[in-house]
Symmetry: C3
Subunit: 350 residues, 3 copies
Amino acid sequence: MFIKNCWYVIAWDKEVPAEGLLARTVINVPLVLWRDTQGKVIAFEDRCCHRGAPLSMGRKEGGDCVRCMYHGLVFDKTGQCVAAPAQNRIPPQMKVRAFPVVETHRWVWVWMGDPALADEKLIPQTPWLDHPEWRSLDGYLHYDTNYLLIADNLLDFSHLPYLHPTSVGGSHDYASVLPKVERRERGVYLTKWVKDTDPPAYSAKYGNYPPGQKVDRWMFYEFQVPGVLLMDSGMVPAGNNAAEGERVNAIAFRGCQALTPETDNSTHYFFAHCHNFLIDQPEVTQSIHNGILTAFEEDRQMITLQDRNLRLDPTFKMQPLSVDAGLGQFRWVVDQMIKREQSEEPHAAA
Amino acid sequence: MFIKNCWYVIAWDKEVPAEGLLARTVINVPLVLWRDTQGKVIAFEDRCCHRGAPLSMGRKEGGDCVRCMYHGLVFDKTGQCVAAPAQNRIPPQMKVRAFPVVETHRWVWVWMGDPALADEKLIPQTPWLDHPEWRSLDGYLHYDTNYLLIADNLLDFSHLPYLHPTSVGGSHDYASVLPKVERRERGVYLTKWVKDTDPPAYSAKYGNYPPGQKVDRWMFYEFQVPGVLLMDSGMVPAGNNAAEGERVNAIAFRGCQALTPETDNSTHYFFAHCHNFLIDQPEVTQSIHNGILTAFEEDRQMITLQDRNLRLDPTFKMQPLSVDAGLGQFRWVVDQMIKREQSEEPHAAA
Amino acid sequence: MFIKNCWYVIAWDKEVPAEGLLARTVINVPLVLWRDTQGKVIAFEDRCCHRGAPLSMGRKEGGDCVRCMYHGLVFDKTGQCVAAPAQNRIPPQMKVRAFPVVETHRWVWVWMGDPALADEKLIPQTPWLDHPEWRSLDGYLHYDTNYLLIADNLLDFSHLPYLHPTSVGGSHDYASVLPKVERRERGVYLTKWVKDTDPPAYSAKYGNYPPGQKVDRWMFYEFQVPGVLLMDSGMVPAGNNAAEGERVNAIAFRGCQALTPETDNSTHYFFAHCHNFLIDQPEVTQSIHNGILTAFEEDRQMITLQDRNLRLDPTFKMQPLSVDAGLGQFRWVVDQMIKREQSEEPHAAA
């Protein structure tokens, strides 16, 4: 069960080639992505309406059409079949589903539900991914688990000092401070300030702070359906009134992460960790990326084993802790949206 | 669901050794094949009636018996158990099922249904496989899909110019001519003549035709249950009245192909593409075989992805085109035979 | 379906490290094993009560506690959670299940059922594994099949001359003598004497018997739930009245084997074949171990294929033979115990 009326990150912009076709499955639906003659990304169901062949094994023709290379059907960019072998008249129902697509700030978003409801204003904005004053590297990981276990992970950072002690971990006192959790219409918003604490290992070096320098750390993030995290985090030397708005001598990041379910049991994970300091030093960007990637690999190993544990006993009941507030609220939002979609589906079809 | 009262190609004759045992599964039934002292092929269920061990891990004894090498039971060539360890009297129900087998023209056929109905006259004949004036190489491919998707492929050659442009493809005008489709009792019969067209790439060179030579091409084939294709195809220089029976300066082939379901989701594919020209040049035979094999690998890649697409959405409805006439009629024949067998099964058992 | 009120061999003692954590799944339950500061083995469910993370990815702390390294929960050796991040009060239901464990004679046993019923007197004793006058090597194999097919194998040694002709096989006359089978409360007891027979290949050489020496062979073994075989076997030169108690010039073994279901379709197999002759020659111990291992690999290959055969047709009915007496009685005992446990479960819960 997945939310359908929702924008999903389906690719980094560079992954959709100018000429070829990209196959990618989202919420169990195989999709094929390509660019028309204006460079606009088109997303079709990657399953020819004739016999179910993958259009991604086909080829672009005449710029704005795609030909299925099994039996030769040609589809225009609305998904309508406009030619078929040994067939003069093409029945109007001969078409593949085309999905609304928006390319913005380096990510390609696809709307998997009712096209009439595809509101671009619902797309979370990621300006740091292509802003001249910010730097980051394009990240991608594939998980063989359901996406919600990864969402759980991103909604409870109390795990940082335990699972990521040498990468993004930070100190235990930082982890033990619960964030403030606010429910939003399409997700949750978490905020946290911890003052006079030690800086985390992976970023302390960039501050040029003296040894033993205590810092004030902040973390604000929105986590929206289906699984998009946009985070403002960082630190300043302690005692600078940063919480009141002044960020003097700050080390700041904007994290952009998107979980896109591939199937019930697999997930695409797009991410970048943007920084606006030392932007003329590519090795700093690379090092920050490596630190994040190390941590995400640690997450993946743990979550994959957690997933095995949960599948071994479907009756297992989790025991809640106060650190679960964020993930609990987010799962509630997801459940409500799915229930609402299911109750409205007959009307939408009518 | 498979047709049972039907001859299935289970092996090339050379695959069944004079001495050893060959294991092969057909329509979910594990079989073991061996030769008796007269060289006649015997097919047993490859599952010992005692504890289910594979007889194919056993050995022939005394020429006309097979011993299970788990607990030592011995079976004569009717499948009756004739010896067991520490057992003087063998209960009569101690037996494995023996299947009717016929070896003819290089293929070994097995009847998977009621032995009383095993009529050898139903076996499609493949004389070109061992005729002195014809040449071919033994082909085999394994598919991880149901066999009907492959049957579909062989019943709609409109896919040739798209999926096989550089191998057996041929020209688009050839592909756009629909064959005449006739339903037969156990399959369909397709015929097609296309006049004044370009010769296909993989065989044009054998005609020694001048550059730009147009040809008349023909293709007649029977496709019978479970999935046996016997095809007469070829070409002559255009304007030779070949359609009226004269095959002057012809390049002709006899294609023999057999799909044998292994399990619900896997298939054995036996094939050979026989030619009667340049038969003293083994490199020609090899080259024709390679061309066919290249095309069949292209089919397998496409069909495997098509199969994934169909499994991702069991509710997917295919949209028919006129090119589907052959496969539509064949699938109807298969459905009818399965339904008839199921309705008759209680009577057969009584 | 597995017996729960039962001791399962979960590890060789050396596998549970002094410091680290060992993960091992038994009857579909993931377990983590570790040693407290006294060296006593502790077994927890390897699934944190909070979110299901594997505790085996965690670490020991303070000697007698284990910390989950996902979110940092700490468990004392009773399984009670004693610390959690950002949480002052730990709810009493915050605990993981701890299982009774006994380490005795080189094997670590765990009780998977009601701890109140965990009677140590039910543990089969294996003194030969650590007795100074006996030698053996630690054996382990993993099966991708249900454990009962392996139990069947160990309860019908008529398969020895067929499946193991060059290793532990022995002569056909030996195999054709049925053992006496007695049902016990928690298993079966098999006894067999065969007089004036040929010695088996793998052990004849140790007797220093003259060529052609006939022997009297014995085999007594208890096979107890869940699948523990303890066997006294061996031979003496024929005519020595060994059956009456005299074991002159004997070659004797004590076989210790334990089948522990991992999941419905996989099994841990612990074994050792102890001998009390030539104990100062490690190459003899190694050679005996190798002979056993060769035979067990032969068993595994056959049983894995048998398992495939049984899964291909769930309606397959096995035909019984008199050699099945042991396995038939053992399967009956297992069935009865499972039924009894299921009928008692509501009472136990009340």
